[in-house]
Amino acid sequence: MSIIYILWLRQLKRHFRSRARLVGSLGQPILFLLALGFGFGPIYQRAGGGNYIQFLAPGIVAMSILFTSIFSGIEIIWDRQFGFLKETLVAPVSRFQIMIGRTLGGATVATFQGIIVLLISLVVGFRFGNIIMLPLGLVFMLLIALLFTALGTAIASVLEDMHGFQLIMNFLVMPLFFLSGALFPLQDLPQAIKIAANINPLSYGVDGLRGTLVNGAHFGLGIDFLVLGVITIILLFIGSYLFSKIQI
């Protein structure tokens, strides 16, 4: 337990000590909130969708969690390059513990990031649908964070260096975000996009957040929770397996 704790603590210390990263990772969500929120707001309103910020904010919270957690997972490549990974791999601890400690650390950091974005969106004009649901919203945030940190870990375990990073950003992370219903409602979409959104785990995360923070989930909270939970567990297994196979 203390091993998982110290690995978790390390992730937190690293994150909170780098101010540039803390602030930098907020730039994108703020820009999206302001530019898209106020840019598309009038059209959305006219189309009868209501307040767009109200719709968009949970999506942007999910986005910032997605980016932060994938990056936390991918950080393993960094550790591998700077040699720190070796220090943990020659220690008499199981790789599974290392993987779990790191993943929990990354997920905590990402959840924290999501909370900050949620607070910012309150400033911009977002209002909770039902404040009693907030704890459940936090659970969804943590689930999204766990899922994508585990995914990042799995990816980082098979990549040798940062070359593949752009590839992952453009062909995995961006599509995950854009095809998740974070920016637009999932009703009445062309069939292809609908299918893409339905098999995208982030869709269920966004939907869960929207369902708890505002209300009116597309898939239903139960299904959101189930899908996220199952995929998280599967990814944790895949991630630990791939991580246990790392050779330096």
Binding site: I3, K86, P92, D161, I248
Partner: protein
């Protein structure tokens, strides 16, 4: 303390380590020398459980690295060829992290960290971030960290690479001191032959994955009829320059050096 018999490591068709055998006695300082790409680091990685051998038998402090990796891991401390500290943590936090990983009880951990940081003269800097340390300070911290769990064996993979002569001689003083005081068995690699000559009791020379000679520095010199270990080394391994294959991680390191101011 270390016993290696007929060890072979293949990467696909490439034979990195080719049927080598050697042993290191308790309390000995043993140097493992060889040109670039000879198989030194691969051997250390196998001895320290980071890689699995293709063939051969290894016993480290009475344990087999493949069957009982955790027992072997508790037996040694290691200073890697490239830095393996977390530079966003302080010196003390790096030590603390290591102590927790090796399950050292809290009060013992505290006093041992203090003792070791004083030993490598970093106690005053214990709360500084490692990123502000010089190369020599990082090395010293890594040595201190490697010793935290009272290992029987200390592996040093080119511990003085890229350091100035003062720091280098300082580090070897620490190592010899440790060997004397705590009876730690030391296994090291280096490219500086005079360091090996001065420090090591025995030496093995590896070239193209094979051990070409082993014995005391004196024995190797008289065997080749040379005055210094450096000449003996060149005589045994030839004068041609070795090119090391650059892998992805290596490339990335180079790029990072460019980015870093």
């Amino acid at each position: 303390m270390i016993k290696v018999e007929n060890l072979t490591k293949k990467f696909g068709d490439f034979v990195a380590v080719d049927n080598i055998s050697f042993s290191v006695n308790r309390g000995e300082i043993f140097a493992f020398l060889g040109p670039n790409g000879a198989g030194k680091t691969t051997t250390i990685k196998i001895l320290t459980t980071l890689l699995k051998p293709s063939e051969g038998k290894i016993i480290i402090n009475g344990h087999n690295p493949v069957a009982e990796p955790d027992d072997v891991r508790r037996s040694f401390g290691i200073v890697f060829q490239d830095q393996s500290l977390d530079d966003r943590l302080t010196a003390y936090e790096n030590m603390e992290f290591h102590g927790v990983l090796y399950k050292i009880p809290k009060d013992i951990r505290r006093s041992r960290i203090e003792q070791l940081l004083k030993f490598v003269e970093l106690w005053e800097r214990k709360n500084n971030l490692v990123e502000d340390f010089s190369g020599g300070m990082k090395r010293r911290l890594e040595i201190a960290r490697g010793l935290l769990h009272h290992p029987k064996i200390l592996f040093l993979d080119e511990p003085t690479l890229g350091l100035d002569p003062q720091t280098r001689s300082h580090i070897w003083d620490y190592v010899k001191n440790l060997n004397k005081k705590e009876g730690v068995t030391v296994f090291f690699t280096t490219h500086y032959m005079e360091e090996a000559e001065k420090t090591a009791g025995r030496v093995a020379i590896i070239d193209n994955g094979k051990i070409v000679a082993q014995g005391t520095p004196g024995e190797l010199k008289s065997k080749t009829n040379k005055n210094t270990l450096e000449e003996a080394f060149l005589n045994l391994t030839g004068r041609s320059i070795r090119e090391q294959e650059v892998n992805g991680i290596e490339r990335m390191r180079m790029r990072r050096k460019l980015f870093k101011r």
